[in-house]
Amino acid sequence: MTTPTPPPTEPRYQADFLTELFRDPLDPGYADAAAATKARGYRRRPLWLRIVAGATMLSIGFLLAVAYQHTQAEQPGRAKVREGLIDQINARRTSVQTLADREEKLGDEVTRLRDAAIPGPEAARLRTAEAAAGYRKVTGDGIVVTIGDGPEKVDPVTGKVDLTTHVLDLDLRLIVNQLWANGAEAISINGNRLTSTSTIRLAGEAIQVDFQPMIGPYEVSAIGPGDLADDFDESRTADSYRGLVKEKGLTFSISERDDLVLPSAPDPVLRYATPLVSKSPSPSPSTSPSGGRK
């Protein structure tokens, strides 16, 4: 034995247990057993003990192999699940896209057939009403307001992402309402046409327009009267965002465009109000929220 054998005194674990552990990591039992063997003279170890020791080694090897395989099996499983989910998302996205294309084509056909079937003045009235409601593709001159997230700021201590440099649903709502107020006739956000019942909401950190997740920078296109650009440019909303550009690094720009094409919104989901059973004279529970004006 190279290390000095500590005398097998009884109070082995003093208060300074950790120092002891670092100094002499060998199980003190080995030294005790060696001392005992020496005391009663050398004797060959009994066979059964050696078999038990062999069995212990066997079980240790078994344990190592099992643990290794278990860890190995766990890792690709997680990655596989993740990959599968990504594949599913991509597949669903493409199928949604093809279905949307088909819907647009069929919608165009329906419109064409209907225009052919309805006499002239009636069709014109319908067209105007549809365009105003957002259910018909419209073209015209207007402006595009682009707003994007500022540089990502992460708190170095807590690791939290600073959300004040992000565009929020509130920002898009403010801009859209300002555009309506300045006389815009049709508005779309990143190609999603807004109607009177459209929603602009925050889900987690993503902005959803009519439950479609949007990715920044956000382009708000609006078709309206000729002075729309000037009116919006002078509005307090535009002013406050120009301030945010300086303060938080958001991107914000207004540009006039000719011949903007705004797509039609998906066909509305019709909701029917059902009268209450009890005839209480309470104010009518309106189910359809009346949104921005045309």
Partner: protein, 110 residues
């Protein structure tokens, strides 16, 4: 010699049989591995020191695994399972490191 053979046979058995670990025992598997490694390195060092004892080795392995598992189980019940596992790994890791250092001194005289 027998011990090394037994270890290899154990590894082969584990690979061939490929048993599934019950879900309840899965959190204890890494701790059991560390405890077993501690017993193995302690045994190797004792062998080189010339004080190897079969009984001591068997008992140290079984008690290591059982006590380590028990500590982690207790920690899980008290809500500090992660911290206690870390504690077990640190203590056993220190011992493994010390024993490996002693083995190294034996083998390379350095």
């Amino acid at each position: 010699m027998i011990a090394v053979l037994a270890l290899i046979v154990g590894v082969v058995l584990g690979i061939v049989l490929d048993p599934t670990v019950p879900v309840a025992l899965q959190p204890y598997l890494p701790i059991a591995v560390v405890a077993a490694l501690d017993a193995v390195f302690g045994g190797v060092r004792a062998k080189l020191d010339g004080v190897f004892d079969d009984k001591q080795f068997v008992i140290s392995f079984i008690s290591n695994v059982l006590v380590a598992g028990l500590i982690v189980y207790l920690g899980d019940q008290l809500g500090v399972g992660g911290q206690l596992s870390t504690g077990v790994v640190v203590v056993l890791g220190v011992r493994i490191f010390g024993n490996v250092a002693a083995i190294r001194r034996h083998l390379f005289r350095a």
